[in-house]
Symmetry: C2
Subunit: 213 residues, 2 copies
């Protein structure tokens, strides 16, 4: 398809597509004439991912390039490829390892992983930015005096494990590891607000059922 | 307790506490002498909520005041009090009702609520900012071509309903409706990043279990 059709089908303006091409976020099309290039379904898919990164996730261009490099890295096994793509995303909190509250939160997270039998997460824990981010958010809970203990966190973790099962089942229906990595990144960025809203709406529903309106 | 102790126990500086007092976010203490006032456990609890709103949630002061007014409103029933406090929080997306993608997303959300038998959410739907926000996030999914249909959303919604059950069970252990409204607001603000990180860590755990590392 021509650039105009790529723009129409993706809802991304031609000027923005040209910007992504210049920045190397989208691979060049197959040159047809001196002024025209041809784009295929893979360009369309990649364009959606770039848009999710830049427009929805507000990820800086340099970071987006790192994420895409991991998505494209054929040398990685499936877990590492997904992991590298997700780890390249900006993390929300960078806890201060010197802070005693953070060290206490680390103990809580370790005890939680033990109780959940998330042994892989426990072993590779300190390497993963997600582990660091969780320690930071648990430290915030504790500072505010809210539910920052293993007993309160465990039922939430079990339910989020059930959510992650759905995530992985969805990935398994896809055709190749590149597409899996693409969808994992997009789903991390755009699915989180959906889950947040579903939780809040469910709270309203259950509150009305239990207590009336 | 004196202001200095309130500061120490909450981890909030005395200058910030004075600012909250001036802005009417924290009720005045019981005057003891011309220059000293006495604060109690309720001040400490309220201070945690104000901190969650302003420092963690980055909610503007005027909005924080609205949230607190709902939390304090004794005239409301439990559901309405929780609802009013949560609805006063800033919502993330304001969908454009004229956009055909948004209208299609509205149909998807309505069909989803029907299938879930969330009848209360369906009836009061259009009044709730959470409904509007969900329509907006589903419209984003659809624009990006990712899982924006009822079949894909349903298993996530069921799992978030299970999360909301835990939320409400936690609220039920509390002593009064004011405390419930306070905790509901704090948990909406500071618990969402915890759930996000738990989901991502569970993805890593399950991916390693299924595919090795």
């Amino acid at each position: 398809m021509r650039l105009s059709e790529l723009s129409e089908r993706s809802g991304v303006s031609a000027a923005t597509i040209k910007y992504y091409l210049r920045e190397g976020l989208l691979p060049a099309g197959r040159r047809v004439t001196a002024t025209q290039a041809d784009y295929d379904e893979e360009h369309l898919r990649r364009l959606r991912l770039v848009r999710a990164l830049i427009q929805v996730g507000r990820v800086p261009v340099a970071t987006a390039r790192e994420v895409l490099a991991a998505v494209d890295d054929e040398s990685l096994g499936r877990t590492d490829r997904l992991g590298a793509a997700l780890w390249a995303l900006p993390q929300h909190t960078e806890p201060d390892a010197e802070d005693p509250v953070v060290r206490a939160a680390e103990d809580v997270v370790d005890a939680l992983l033990e109780r959940l039998e998330w042994h892989h997460a426990r072993e590779t824990g300190r390497l993963s930015p997600v582990y660091g981010s969780l320690v930071g958010t648990v430290a915030t809970l504790q500072r505010l005096g809210f539910f920052g203990d293993v007993e309160r966190l465990e039922p939430y973790a079990r339910r989020m494990e059930a959510v992650a099962e759905v995530d992985l089942d969805n990935l398994e229906r896809l055709h190749d590891d590149r597409e899996r990595a693409e969808v994992a990144v997009t789903s991390a960025l755009v699915f989180e607000p959906v889950l947040r809203d579903l939780r809040r709406l469910a709270q309203e529903e259950l509150s009305t059922r239990r207590y009336g309106s």
